[in-house]
């Protein structure tokens, strides 16, 4: 009986290891920018003639910064949710590797949930933010520090579980 014990223990360990491994998301890239201030930039906006720099945006926190593009299908999926959120909390956009005309017509067609959308046609700001796929959503606090990042489209569940609890904590912290 005991001669089966060791192989059994090893097998159980292996099964446990593989079970954990299967649950991990290999596409998840932990961002080194969590806890860092929003990186510097200065750029034009998708709509209108205005410009916006990082210093100004940092001072407007807490806020959500949503990276999007008109060519991104998953952005279309999360868009209704952003429209629903927009009246309740400030959402800024980063229009990543996109053409201004296409971005404008996209917003015209589906609605504009953003207080302002930064235009980043070359993807430079995206690189500084460690963006590797759209959509991505950053939660920035009142000090302009990135507190959380979600990669992929926002869903009701993600919002409920990840974003809103952190949002409430941030707004309470900045109110007191």
């Amino acid at each position: 009986m005991t001669r089966f014990l060791l192989p059994l223990v090893v097998l159980a360990g292996l099964v446990a290891l593989l079970a954990v491994g299967l649950r991990l998301d290999p596409a998840h890239v932990p961002s080194p920018l969590i806890g860092q201030p929003l990186p510097d930039f200065e750029t034009g906006l998708v709509q209108g003639e205005g410009r916006l720099d990082a210093q100004t945006l940092r001072a407007r926190g807490p806020l959500l910064l949503n990276v999007w593009a008109s060519w991104c299908a998953a952005c279309r999926d999360e868009h209704p949710l952003l429209m629903e959120l927009a009246p309740h909390l400030p959402i800024y956009g980063l229009n990543w590797k996109d053409e201004q005309a296409a971005a404008r017509s996209w917003l015209g067609r589906f609605g504009d949930p953003y207080r302002a959308s930064l235009h980043d046609p070359g993807g430079r700001i995206g690189i500084d933010l460690g963006v590797y796929g759209v959509p991505e959503t950053f939660l920035v606090d009142a000090q302009g520090v990135i507190r959380y990042k979600h990669v992929g489209p926002l869903t009701g569940a993600v919002l409920e579980r990840e974003i809103l609890p952190r949002w409430r904590a941030l707004t309470q912290a900045s109110a007191s």
Partner: protein, 159 residues
């Protein structure tokens, strides 16, 4: 004769396919020429070591993802600007984390990664060593076993 021709055709087709796939690999990334051959070598070594974040099993040198092209341009730009390999790698890890490195640094979270194979090798060697030792079979019979053997042999004789 016919079979020979068919075989030759098949070979030609195969060669053509291989050539095509080789071309496809070459065409995946944009050619980039540096004035200095040292810069060229550094560029090629760096993009080979850096991992594409979009198609995570490809290096920047292999990937034809849009972001990989941007990052290659970034690496090339920084080489031309006179920045060192370490500075370029730091620049990318500050934004994308150790994830961009095919050779992540040795630190507590990567201990299992670096030492795991060695630990498995040691465990395997131990199992092999133990199995070999017990299967060696050089042990002498115990007193009780010799007694039993004698009785068995005696039974055989008396039959």
């Amino acid at each position: 004769m016919d079979r020979c021709a068919a075989l030759r055709r098949a070979c030609l087709l195969l060669a053509g396919l291989l050539l095509c796939s080789a071309c496809a690999t070459l065409a995946a990334i944009e050619p980039r020429e540096f004035a200095e051959s040292a810069d060229q070598a550094r560029y090629e070594a760096l993009i080979e070591e850096l991992r594409c974040l979009v198609c995570q099993n490809e290096s920047l040198a292999e990937s034809n993802a849009d972001l990989a092209a941007d990052l290659r341009a970034e690496v090339a730009g920084q080489i031309l600007a006179g920045r060192s390999d370490a500075q370029i790698v730091d620049y990318l890890t500050a934004r994308y984390g150790d994830f961009v490195l095919y050779r992540p640094p040795f630190k507590p979270v990567t201990w299992a990664l670096w030492l795991g194979p060695l630990a498995l090798l040691l465990m395997g060697s131990f199992v092999v060593w133990r199995t070999a030792r017990t299967a060696g079979g050089s042990e002498a019979l115990t007193e009780a076993e010799q007694q039993r053997l004698r009785t068995l042999l005696d039974e055989e004789d008396s039959r």
